[in-house]
């Protein structure tokens, strides 16, 4: 709140500096013998930027990182008794001290008398530290703002190149914005690797990657020894693979044929109608697909298989009939099929681009030799577009592997290593959601295993994407 008010004051102050510098520069432009280099606006902006930016950075940094610094400083000075506590308890103690210092309610944890004294003492320290830090940051910001204003105003002179100064600031801002994207990647990699590393402290990576049993529930309690088999991710990989396979069996042919029809056969009018409709299909949120899969497709498929099963029971295929009679709503086939439909527009629009990039001369040559259109497509266009189409499929596979909502809502939770599409399987993303929703303890391998899964997912999709994007790029250049 204080930071916010300080920022408002700063904005008002730099506004005033802007107006002042601009007026001075304007007067200078009228009075000066030689022409003034930059326009008054630039002089104003130059002074305002020097006033506002350094001070604002100080305010933002202390506002964002103040809590962290404070915690580190206070925890370094905690008495022995507190430092001997478990990490989680110590954190609660620290949070309580900070809450007390800020006049908020602390947690309900009961403390013995000596710790109560220590708590009050720590709260006092926090209070003193906070007021000192607040005073420091406000003073630093005020000094920087005044110095910046003085600097900016002192530079209002005819030959000064204020515009270039402003543009340098602008360039810095632009650069900072484009670096954000890089920081996002760094943040993703760092957070996944860091938390996974903590997970691999308790479960060795080879047990995680090659273990055949997935049962994180059994490791929930603190005193229970983590059995090596409990975090084996092979069943999850198998489930993910199975659902991805089903989805691609739906999406690849349908998407590819739709793309071929649209680019090679359809009239301009048909294209103008069908393409936006396919885009609608692509725009439907995945949670909607999940709802549809869970409440419509699932029961429908189940009823269908159960009916077939009922027909077969008693006949030569009695066993199969009995099995089909017991099929559940949450089978891999349902999630896979619906996910496949979700991927159709993705596959078709990518393939459409790629097929359109094949030069017309190739088609014309083939048609001139007397080939039919379908022969041209099969023998000339598709082979030429093959690398691109493969890349499109790889991107679709990456989407299918990372897709979360459909499988969370329509696939099950049972970790099974199977290729039977009628079984209930679970996927990497489903397990991440299950592990991280609800109560979490950030020290248990159960919660941390989600980050191990996340890291695997990220690595696999990244690999698929890098390869696919490479192919697409190379391919695009080929005919340019």
């Amino acid at each position: 709140m204080l930071t916010f008010i300080a920022l408002l004051v700063l904005v008002a102050f730099s506004g005033a500096v802007y107006a002042l510098a601009r007026r001075r520069a304007g007067a200078l432009a009228l009075a000066a013998a030689s022409p003034i280099n930059s326009r008054p606006v630039h002089h104003g902006a130059y002074a305002a930027v020097w006033t506002a930016v350094p001070a604002a950075l100080v305010l933002l940094f202390t506002g964002l990182l103040g809590d962290r610094v404070e915690e580190t400083l206070v925890s370094a000075r905690l008495p022995e008794a507190v430092r001997a506590m478990e990490a989680a308890e110590r954190q609660v103690f620290l949070d309580d001290a900070i809450s007390l210092a800020r006049g908020k309610a602390r947690s309900e944890t009961p403390y013995p008398a000596d710790l109560q004294v220590a708590l009050d003492q720590a709260a006092g320290e926090v209070r003193a530290l906070e007021s000192r830090m607040r005073a420091f940051s406000l003073a630093a910001a005020a000094v920087l703002a005044l110095a910046g204003a003085a600097w900016g105003l002192s530079r209002v002179r005819a030959p000064f190149r204020a515009r270039e100064g402003v543009e340098r600031w602008l360039q810095a801002l632009l650069l900072a914005c484009s670096v954000t994207a890089v920081f996002t990647t760094v943040g993703i990699v760092a957070s996944l690797v860091w938390e996974s590393w903590r997970f691999f402290q308790s479960v060795p990576p080879q047990a995680f990657l090659f273990g055949l049993e997935w049962d994180p529930q059994s490791a929930m309690y603190a005193d229970q020894v983590v059995s090596e088999g409990a975090f084996g991710a092979i069943p999850l990989f198998a489930g993910t693979f199975l659902i991805m396979l089903i989805a691609m069996l739906v999406a690849a042919p349908v998407g590819l044929f739709a793309a071929i029809y649209l680019s090679e056969y359809a009239s301009a009018r048909t294209r103008a109608i069908v393409k936006p409709l396919l885009e609608v299909l692509a725009g439907v949120p995945t949670v909607v697909y999940g709802f549809f899969a869970a409440l419509t497709v699932g029961p429908l498929f189940r009823a269908g298989f159960n009916a077939i099963g009922a027909q077969l029971v008693g006949g030569p295929l009695n066993e199969l009939g009995l099995y089909l009679g017991e099929v559940q709503n949450q089978m891999a086939l349902v999630a896979g099929a619906v996910m496949g439909v979700m991927l159709i527009p993705f596959v078709s629009s990518l393939s459409d681009d790629i097929i359109n990039a094949v030069p017309q001369s190739l088609r014309d040559g083939s048609l001139a030799m007397g080939a039919t259109r379908s022969e041209t497509v099969k023998k000339v266009v598709l082979p030429a577009a093959l690398p691109g189409v493969m890349a499109a499929m790889l991107l679709a596979v990456s989407r299918a592997v990372g897709e979360t909502m459909i499988v969370t809502m329509a696939a099950g939770l049972q970790a099974k290593t199977t290729l039977n599409p009628l079984e209930t399987v679970t996927t990497v993303t489903v397990q991440i959601v299950t592990l991280l929703t609800g109560d979490q303890e950030f020290d248990s391998p159960r919660t941390l295993s989600a980050f191990g899964l996340g890291l695997t997912l990220f690595a696999v999709t990244l690999m698929l994407n890098v390869v696919a994007l490479r192919i697409v790029q190379k391919y695009r250049e080929q005919y340019d």
Partner: protein
């Protein structure tokens, strides 16, 4: 060279046969294409049709309007919250339709199960505001309990076996009597649009989720659009072409294809655990979605900037503008329609995103409307996910209706993008 000679009839027949086969293959091939498109579009129709079919009935509700005598014997003026208003209302309704309660009061309990708890709260509020009402009669109106509503909507059939439906034969009789007496009126369900989540389906609405989505989307837009546009401007107009900028470009393209759930993990580890941003707040959701939308905004902006012809830049530079002035006074304004179209589309995508928000704790039950960026909140897609998991049947109907609301917002945003493109698009 062999001598040319007229094809024998044999050869003609072979060619004709092969041509026929080839033409048949051609027709089959074309048919496969048609089938593929029919499958995709058929599924779209099925999906939307099924959702409307499941959800439309939510927008109709059955309200009970009744008079209640506030019996002074049952209500303590000193402690109005202590009285059981629901039971009081149920007993008086039973009396009104001429059914005597049995000695255990089980019939009035059964009647109470047909009424929304909202009735009791309404009475309590009125009595608290004006204790003088005790001893007088009040006219009240509230939706019926969701199951009773489903009966009137025909989704609970009397023909179903009694043990398989949530209402007994007796309760259905009473509902028919209430209806015959004109106490039950159907109308547009305003509750669904003006209330937030509730454990009772008939009192549950989407307002809290809509407001939460709006807050979150505003934050996403405020972060992703300026940062994305400026970043794209730098990469497209200013950046030197070297290995670093290549790396940034590859990086952005890959980020656009990272599964959204990974952004959720990032948000959980960085924003919540490291920066102590409050869980399940629009603040943390908006931050995560902003990071997620950033690559798409950058890619859209870059292609819009690429579409501005170089002659514009050259003209501005020739007239003495600096590079910065050229870009900010001429190129960017000309690219703006394209930029805004791309930005709106990526925001529409962010609006429907669910998985990363589950990671940052948005799955909690939030009965109120969020009033700040830091207060606990839920958003439309997550509300859909929560209701889909609910066991009551009436929630399924509301899930489909919430999807309709979500799709309506997405259609509005896409329409805005299309109109923007139509209105301002320039062909050079």
């Amino acid at each position: 060279m062999t001598e040319l000679r007229p094809a024998s009839d044999d050869l003609r027949a072979v060619v004709a046969r092969r041509l026929k086969a080839r033409n048949a293959a051609e027709r089959r091939f074309r048919l496969y294409g048609r089938i593929a498109i029919a499958v995709a579009l058929g599924f779209l129709v099925l999906l939307l049709g099924r959702i409307i079919q499941q959800g439309w009935s939510t927008f109709i509700d059955y309200r009970l309007t009744t008079q209640v005598y506030l019996d002074p014997a049952r209500i303590d003026a000193a402690d109005p919250a202590g009285a059981n208003y629901d039971l009081l209302i149920a007993e008086q309704l039973l009396k009104r339709i001429g059914v005597a309660d049995d000695e255990f009061g089980s019939r009035s309990d059964a009647m109470k199960d047909l009424l929304s708890g909202d009735l009791g709260f309404q009475v309590l509020d009125r009595v608290k505001a004006d204790p003088g009402l005790i001893g007088k009669s009040l006219t009240l109106s509230a939706p019926l309990k969701a199951d009773a509503g489903l009966y009137f909507k025909g989704q609970i059939q009397r023909s179903a076996p009694e043990e398989e439906r949530p209402l007994t034969d007796q309760q259905l009789d009473w509902l028919d009597r209430l209806n015959a007496d004109g106490l039950v009126k159907s109308g547009f369900n305003t509750t669904f649009l003006t209330r937030s989540d509730s454990t009772e389906p008939e009192q549950a609405g989407v307002l809290g989720a809509v407001v939460g989505s709006a807050l979150m989307l505003i934050l996403t837009a405020a972060l992703a659009i300026p940062i994305g546009v400026l970043a794209a401007t730098y990469l497209e107009e200013f950046a030197p072409k070297n290995r670093w900028t290549d790396l940034v470009e590859v990086n952005i393209n890959n980020l656009a294809a990272v599964p959204s759930i990974v952004y959720g993990l990032l948000g959980l580890a960085v924003f919540i655990n490291w920066m102590n941003v409050p869980r399940s707040s629009p603040l943390v959701g908006g931050l995560v979605l902003a990071l997620m939308s950033l690559p798409t905004v950058i890619i859209a902006t870059r292609s819009a900037l690429k579409a501005v012809p170089p002659s514009i830049r050259e003209a501005a530079l020739a007239l003495g503008a600096s590079r910065t002035q050229t870009v900010f006074h001429h190129v960017l304004p000309l690219a703006l329609p394209g930029v805004m179209t791309g930005a709106i589309l990526s925001l529409a995508h962010a609006l429907g995103e669910t998985a990363p928000l589950l990671m940052v704790g948005m799955v909690s039950f939030v009965p109120g409307v969020p009033d700040a960026l830091t207060s606990a909140s839920t958003v439309l897609p997550v509300q859909i996910f929560i209701w889909e998991n609910a066991s009551e049947r009436a929630f399924h109907e509301r899930t489909a209706a919430a999807i309709m609301v979500l799709l309506a917002f997405m259609i509005l945003m896409n329409l805005a993008a299309v109109l923007l493109r139509r209105r301002f698009e320039r062909r050079w």
